[in-house]
Amino acid sequence: MAEQFPQPAQQQLYSLNLGPQHPSTHGVLRVLLTLDGEYILEADPIIGYGHRGHEKMGENRTYLQFMPNASRMDYLSGLLYNHGFCLAVEKLAGIEPPERAKYIRVICAELNRISSHLLWFGTFLMDLGAFTPFLYCFDDRENILDILDRVSGSRLTYSYCRFGGVARDVDDVFIEQTRAFIKRLRSRWPDYHNLVTKNVIFIHRVRDVGIIDKDLARRFGVTGPNLRAAGVAFDMRKVEPYEVYDRFDFEIPTGSKGDALDRYRVRLEEMEQSCRIIEQALDQMPDGPYRQERVRLKVKPPRGEVYFAFESARGQTAYYLVSDGSPYPYRVHVRVPSFGNLHCLTEVLKETLVADAIAILGSIDIVVPEIDR
């Protein structure tokens, strides 16, 4: 008679929703996990909660009117997006900004990159259960926000760049503050390393966890620090130098294995490299006009298209603009790095523990509104 009763299933599978509102999902992200005990069999990220239709918005406003949208996609590195959009339109319309403006933009963009990485540092460790580093890095980040606030007028969603320059010139106080900040940040590295990098608990949580190797990265279009952690020295600032990046001496930090620890190391080293770029830019910055006066507000690029790629804090970002010769873009498409970085999680999260999934999600540094656009 025994065969009449159903056999107990070998696996007791169940589904778990990670998110949509969870501190470790960095925005409104829901990951539908299929679990066997504590092991993840399948992970399906469900996105789109923050879809605002930026690309559609671009089709019924002028190039200048689209500029505030740019910094609202990735709100943690808004200035980099803003900068990239300006460069794309300038390339399309053939506008050449003055030398001083280029240096101001690079300095501000790199400051923004550091602030984005600092925020990642804090939230990543908070995901892992360490609260103290969060307070340290927010203290440092506050400095950058104050510096950028003074020149651009905003703390998060910057619209500082203009076609053919920047909105306002920087003064000696800005230069002084920036130099002081870099000195201060460098004095903090030993603290960071003693508190986190040498921490045994931290190392055990992230070493050999969530390995993204070269092949996986290529199949899913992973870019940025996540790709460099796998050992590919691929950075738009070096490969396709834009603005004045080819005049600076800096390195592209790379990892070897592509695990969460490598990604952590690459980002910390990247902050130091950004400091080097800012220092050189401050030394080389010439005097002169900060903005090209003869750029019309209603920029009217000739017919054609441009695909402009640059390096944002999370990886390779690109604007694809198609112009029909009118002051309104015919199509605005944004290639966002977090899209591929998050997509590869469907593969990486397989057969890992739930606790590791949180560490992996934190280590790839996603900003969900950037994916949703």
Binding site: G48, E55, R303, V306, F308, A318, S326, H343
Partner: protein, 157 residues
């Protein structure tokens, strides 16, 4: 330069020299543009995959007379980016390249929900960014307010 030259040679063998347009100054941000017929798309993608390229971006353009899908391919070397352009009628279907590049799995879902063109052979064509019950295609020019709706030659002619 190896990956780029290799891919160029093999695409030229497949499609003939007329399909490639060079942009030596990198003015539009791509080194070569490949005008690819729909039937050859999978073969071209196989070549890119074999040469070490990755699918950087997949997006569409809506014109009065046709839809156009643009695949931006890139390799880990300077100025290797190439654009593959495929024309597709408004009520047509596109072949899915998700079997070659896994990153197309999501990008094709996005293109499908925004342009209303099915990607045949896609294993899991669900909505990605829009709600599940969305019955509109937002990036088509007949949806919402747009400034202009043009024929293809008015932009590229």
């Amino acid at each position: 330069m190896a990956a780029k030259d290799d891919a160029l040679r093999r695409i030229q063998e497949l499609l003939g020299p007329g399909a490639l347009t060079a942009d030596p100054d990198f003015r539009a941000g791509v080194s070569y543009t490949v005008a690819c017929p729909k039937e050859s798309l999978l073969a071209v993608m196989e070549i890119f995959n074999a040469c070490g390229f990755y699918l950087e971006s997949l997006t569409g353009l809506d014109f009065q007379d046709t839809l156009e899908f643009v695949y931006h391919m890139n390799a880990y070397e300077p100025r290797a980016r190439m654009a593959v352009r495929v024309l597709c009628p408004h009520d047509g279907e596109m072949p899915s390249v998700s079997g070659v590049f896994a990153s197309a799995l999501w990008q094709e879902r996005e293109a499908w929900e925004f342009y209303g063109v099915r990607f045949s052979g896609h294993p899991d064509l669900r909505r990605l960014l829009l709600p599940d019950d969305a019955d509109f295609y937002p990036l088509r020019k007949d949806f919402g307010t747009v400034h202009a709706y043009r024929k293809r030659e008015e932009v590229y002619g």
